[in-house]
Structures are given as C-alpha cells and as structure tokens.
C-alpha cells in the first residue's frame, strides 16, 4: 500500500504508524475483552459467571457429596454487616440448593453495594452454576436497612471427582459513588 506515492521513507513511516495505532487499539479492543472472555469461559481466576444459569436438566448424583463453604469479605471502606447464614453445606452434584446471605447498612445514609464472587479451587468455577444470586445485581440499602439475599446454585455433575470441597467467596464493594456518577451522567 503506497500512501505517499513513491516516497519510500514516508511509506515506511505510514506502515509503522499503522502498527502503533493498531497496537494501541489492540489493548482495548482485543486484550481486555479476550481476558474477560477467557476468564468467563474457562472459569479462570475463580470468577464465576455473572450470568444467571439456565437449567437444562436436573439429574442428581446421590453417590457424591461435595462440601460448599461460604466466605464473605468486606472490601475497604465497606461498612455493611454481611455474611452467610450457613457457613457450610454438603450437596449432591445436580441438585438445586438454596441458601441465604444477610446484609445490613448500619450507616445513616443510603448506599449501593456490589458483591463479587470468587471460587476456589478456580478449576471448579466452570462447574458451579448460580441460578439465582444477589451478585447478579447491585444491592441498594437505605440507611439502617437490612435484607436477606438468596443464592440458588447447582454443582455440575461433571465436576472432577477429586474436588470434594468448593469455597465460594463474596467480596462486598461500596459502589454508591459509581452509581451516582452513572445517574448524574444521564
């Protein structure tokens, strides 16, 4: 491609500038989305999908029991009381399980939170399906308000047999300001 007629130097420059712009774009258009896609698809980094799982079929495997541990962490600056009502459950792969988390906003101002899930071991993430999770949405709580938040999940029958314990952790973040910016910018 000859942008600059027969000036070889400027043609080289044009090609190199294209590479520069291309690599800059590559970061935003390829690297970031690719990272997210790979994490979601392969369950890398223990990120469980932020999407509601559509149940296809339910076939409970009674012969296996998997222990699920629930752990919560508040990120810095997040003052809510937040925790599981049960810290541990034993489930069968394929079965639908329900549990509840509690949250309370002890401050005298309204706040919005986001719970971020993470699974350990990370290779179990693709076998842990949430059909209902408070982590799908931001949670708004008025001052002093408390709430019970449901979690419904299924452990896939294809979970590798050597995994007998799965730990589901939620980190709670304060996103009140983030939401304010979004609202303000509308």
């Amino acid at each position: 491609m000859q942008l600059f007629g027969d000036n070889p130097v400027l043609n080289t420059v044009a090609k190199m500038v294209t590479v520069v712009i291309g690599m800059f774009a590559f970061v935003f258009v390829v690297m970031v989305p690719l990272y997210n896609v790979l994490c979601d698809a392969l369950g890398i980094n223990g990120k469980t999908s932020g999407e509601r799982y559509e149940v296809v079929q339910i076939q409970v495997d009674e012969s296996r029991e998997v222990t699920i541990q629930f752990v919560t962490t508040n990120n810095e600056g997040m003052p809510w009381e937040f925790g599981p009502t049960t810290t541990m459950m034993k489930v069968h792969p394929g079965a639908v399980n329900d549990t509840v988390f509690y949250a309370r906003n002890p401050l005298s101002r309204d706040m919005v939170a986001q719970a971020v899930p993470s699974i350990s071991p990370s290779r179990a993430a693709e076998y842990f399906h949430k059909t209902e999770c408070f982590c799908f949405d931001q949670q708004a709580l008025q001052a002093q308000q408390s709430v019970e938040m449901p979690l419904q999940f299924i452990v896939d029958q294809d979970l590798p047999r050597d995994i007998t314990t799965i730990t589901l952790s939620y980190t709670l973040f304060d996103v009140t300001d983030m939401v304010k910016d979004v609202v303000a910018s509308r």
């Binding site: 080289t12 520069v20 291309g22 690599m23 935003f28 690297m31 970031v32 990120n75 990370s122 973040f173």
Partner: protein, 520 residues
C-alpha cells in the same frame, strides 16, 4: 564531495534545532548519563538506608518513592535513551547513510525527554509525594491508592512512549530505506540488526504501555473499572497487559547491548564474528519469543496450572537462542589474536556477568522454584546482573570504543582500565550478595530487614557506593578526553576494526556519506 559549505550553527540554536544525527546522538548520550547519575543518586539513598537494619535516614513512604523513581529513571531515562543515542550516532555511519531518515522528527524524539523527566522528578515535591508503587505500578496501588501525582506520572509515561516510538520509526525507516548500495540486510553490521529488531519491538509494545496507562487514567478519573473488581474488572488484567509490554521491554534493553558486544569482540580478537547468520536468527527468535513469555513475571498470581506450564516452557525455550549468542562470542575469541583494551575488558565482563544473570534467569523460569524466588532479592540480583553488568557495561564499552573515532582524541587507557576494574569489583560486591539474601528469604522493596540479612546488605551497600564512585572516574575520563586527549587521526583507531564507520576520517566530520559509498 561535500556540498555543505558551512559548519554547524553556533550556540544554543545548534542544539535546540539540531537535525544532525551526530549532534542528536551526543545530546541523547549526555542526557542519559545525567539520568544515570540521578537514578544512581536514588540508588545511593536506597542503599544508604539498607546499610544497616533499622530506619535511619528516610521514612518508608519516601523509600518507596526512591525505589520507584530509581527504576523509572534508570529504565526510561538512562538505559533506553543511551542506546537510542548510540543508534543515532552509529546507524547512519554503519550503513553509509548521510543521516537518519527523518532528522526533524529525530529532534523532537530527543527534546521530549528533558522536560518529561523534569516533570517526573518534580512529582517528588508534589503534595502526597511522587509515585511510590514500584516501576511496575500495579493496580490498585497505582489507581485507587495512588497519590495525586499519579496523573503526572501517567502523562510522563505517555510522553516517553511517544519519544521512543518516534525514535524507533526513524530507525526502521532509516535501515529499510537508506542503506548504501550493495549493503544487503545480511551484510549489515550486527549492531544495526539488533537495533532494527529492537525498533520493531518498541513500535509493537510501547503503544501497549500507552494503552495501559490510559486505562489507569480512566479508572482514576473517569469512573471505569478495568482493574477494580467492584465494577467487574480485575487487578490481574493490569499485570497481564503490563508484562505483555514489560517482557519485550527487557529485550528492548538488552538487544542493542548484544549488538555492541558483537561489534567490539571481533575487533579485539582480530577475527570475524563467528556465526553471523546464526546471530541474526537468534536475535530474531528472541524477539518473537519475547511476546509469549510474559506471565513468568506473574507465577504467584493464581493462574491455572496449564497457563503456568505454558509460560514456563516458553520461557525455558528463550534460553536457547540466548545461549547460542554467548557461545558465538566466545568462539569469536577462540584462536583470535586478543588484546585487552578497555572496550574489550568491558565486553569480557559483559560475557561473564550477563551469562550469570542469564543463569539466574533460567532458575527464575522454573515456576515451582519461582514461588520461592518471586519478589525477593534474588530477582533484584538477576535483573541488575543483566541490566547493569549487561546493558550498562556494554554502553561503557561502546563509549570507549567509538568516542576516539567521534572526537579524534584517545582516552586515558590507564583510567579506562581502572574504571573497568573498580566497576567490576563494586558491581559484584553490590549485587552478588543479593542472591544470598533473596534465597534466604528477604523480600524486595522493603526499607528495613530482619537481622540475618544484615551482613550481606552492608556489603551490598558498600559495593554500590564503590560502583557509583567509579562512574565519576568515567565522567572525568570522557571530559578530559574530549577537551585535551591525545590527538589521533588514523581512520582505523583500532587495528582489528572493520565496518563503514572506520573508513571515515578521524574525527568524524559533521556531515558524512553525503555521497553513499559502494559496498562490496
């Protein structure tokens, strides 16, 4: 035949508006040396605090600013510009071109640097202090938890990237289009080859760094969440993008050094470089492989085991072409007729010490062992061996080698040898013990340490001061040479020197190869 009938402009204008590759090269070299002193001062503060256990001189927050600025200034202000300066001086001379392809853009590439480093250094005096998150500036320490000066840091990185990118485009355009007739690619001196490949690497990865700091800027000021889990992002994404830039970056630092050594050893062995073709292919393989090994800087971050294994295998692989280069240099020496002037001493020092750094690099490549090495002083020792005893020694060799040609005056060989030996001893005293304390469990980036690390830290600090002082000797030698060194006029300053630059008069005239030479 010379068509210019006037010499260079006089006074400040000559330098401010310079388009001559020799002038611009000279400015890069002086600038990079001053940055070497600045970065070295930060290092002296670090080593002074680490001389003994306990906090004696600085507060931990300021110490973190020193380690950060030391890294940034040395990498972006000292090492990279010094090799760009050398490229500017030597590439046109080596390929028989009258100047770089884009002389005015060349001026901008240089002049961006001084104000940018002024800006970066000024962050130390801003409210909240300068950047204190390491030269690797991981999020969220560098986003949510950064001092206000981080915005200026980001701006500085953008400017530095711009300078590098412009310089690299210039180098690629020059090498591709301005070679003298008869100089095919496979006849180019290896220094030109290594810079040619390095320039491509820079063009490919500096924009990635620019993208990364732009994402940082957006997270800090525009409410995005690239690196914050709160908004659906991930701090580990930062590390992947950074090291995608960062690993090629370290090869960007070392490949021109390989080129220098490949020029100097044949001269003092009086024997052609062994395996020229292999050297070119090895350099190209290293450059390609450098894109697929980045996560070996992140083995402890929690990657799935398949990923860890892939990066381990790829990283082990990169040792092969690197080893090939070392073998080729030694074989160049083998059955040559060796003399040991200062440039050769620095090159031999390079071969030994860079290879030691390469060995510790091999050890670091092994993922399970790296769980013990990562973020310890073992890593600090490794990269100082390859960057200081590698790149800086090679730059010293280059100055001693070509300065006499540039200015027509010979440096003091006694002082040069003294500089070499004091550097060699000081460097090893400073950095060899760091292998030990790292293996014994001392983490990086700490201003104070447990008592069992005391003896080696004291030794390291003393060595660092010795090494630092020896650079003053170097400065003195260079200035004394330029001002009043013994005049020489042989075209071949060194008996075994080959290449187009050695066909020119000594000192090299302001304009050269206005008429391209014919290369056989």
């Amino acid at each position: 035949m010379n068509d210019h009938h006037h010499g260079p402009a006089k006074g400040l204008k000559r330098w401010l508006f310079a388009t001559n590759h020799k002038d611009i090269g000279t400015m890069y070299l002086w600038f990079s040396f001053s940055m070497f002193i600045l970065g070295g001062t930060f290092a002296m503060i670090i080593r002074a605090e680490l001389f003994q256990p306990g906090l004696q001189l600085v507060e931990p927050g300021f110490f973190n600013q020193m380690t950060t600025m030391h890294g940034l200034v040395m990498v972006f202000g000292a090492i990279m510009p010094s090799f760009v300066g050398l490229a500017n001086w030597m590439i046109p001379l080596m390929i028989g071109a009258p100047d770089m392809a884009l002389p005015r853009m060349n001026n901008w590439s240089f002049w961006i640097l001084p104000p940018t480093f002024l800006l970066l250094a000024s962050t130390l005096f801003m409210e909240g202090g300068g950047p204190a998150f390491g030269w690797t500036f991981y999020a969220p320490l560098s986003t949510t938890y950064a001092p206000p000066s981080v915005t200026f840091f980001i701006f500085a990185i953008h400017l530095l990237g711009l300078s590098s990118i412009m310089g690299s485009i210039n180098i690629v355009a020059t090498v591709m289009n301005l070679r003298a007739p008869g100089m095919t690619y496979m006849k180019m001196p290896l220094f030109v080859w290594t810079w040619f490949i390095t320039a491509y690497l820079l063009i490919a990865v500096m924009p990635v760094l620019a993208g990364l700091v732009t994402m940082m800027l957006m997270d800090i000021h525009f409410g995005t969440s690239f690196f914050s889990a709160a908004g659906g992002g991930d701090p580990v994404l930062f590390q992947h993008v950074f090291w995608f830039f960062g690993h090629p970056e370290v090869y960007i630092i070392i490949l021109p050094a390989f080129g220098v050594v490949s020029q100097i050893i044949p001269t003092f062995a009086r024997k052609r470089l062994f395996g020229y073709d292999s050297m070119v292919y090895a350099t190209a393989s290293i450059a390609f492989l450098s894109f697929i090994v980045w996560a070996h800087h992140m083995y402890t971050v929690g990657m799935p085991v398949a990923g860890e294994l892939f990066f381990m295998y790829a990283t082990l692989l990169i040792a092969v072409p690197t080893g090939v280069k070392v073998f080729n240099w030694v074989t160049t020496m083998w059955r040559g007729a060796l003399t040991f002037e200062t440039p050769m001493l620095f090159c031999i020092g390079f071969i030994i010490l860079f290879t030691i750094g390469g060995f510790t690099g091999l050890m670091l490549a092994i993922a399970p062992s790296d769980f013990q090495y990562h973020d310890s002083y073992f890593v600090v020792a490794h990269f100082h061996y390859v960057m200081v005893a590698g790149a800086v020694f090679s730059m010293s060799a280059a100055i001693y080698y070509w300065l006499p040609k540039w200015c027509g005056k010979m440096y003091s060989e006694g002082m040069g040898k003294a500089h070499f030996w004091i550097s060699f001893i000081g460097f090893n005293m400073a950095f060899f013990p760091q292998h030990f304390v790292g293996l014994a469990g001392m983490p990086r980036r700490i201003p104070d340490y447990a008592l069992q690390f005391a003896d080696f830290n004291m030794m390291s600090s003393i060595g660092a001061f010795i090494y630092g002082l020896s650079q003053i000797l170097f400065l003195f030698n260079v200035i004394a040479t330029i001002r009043g060194g013994k005049r020489i006029s042989d075209e071949k300053v060194w008996e075994g020197a080959e290449g187009l630059e050695w066909t020119l008069p000594t000192p090299v005239p302001f304009h050269t190869f206005s008429v391209p030479p014919q290369v056989r």
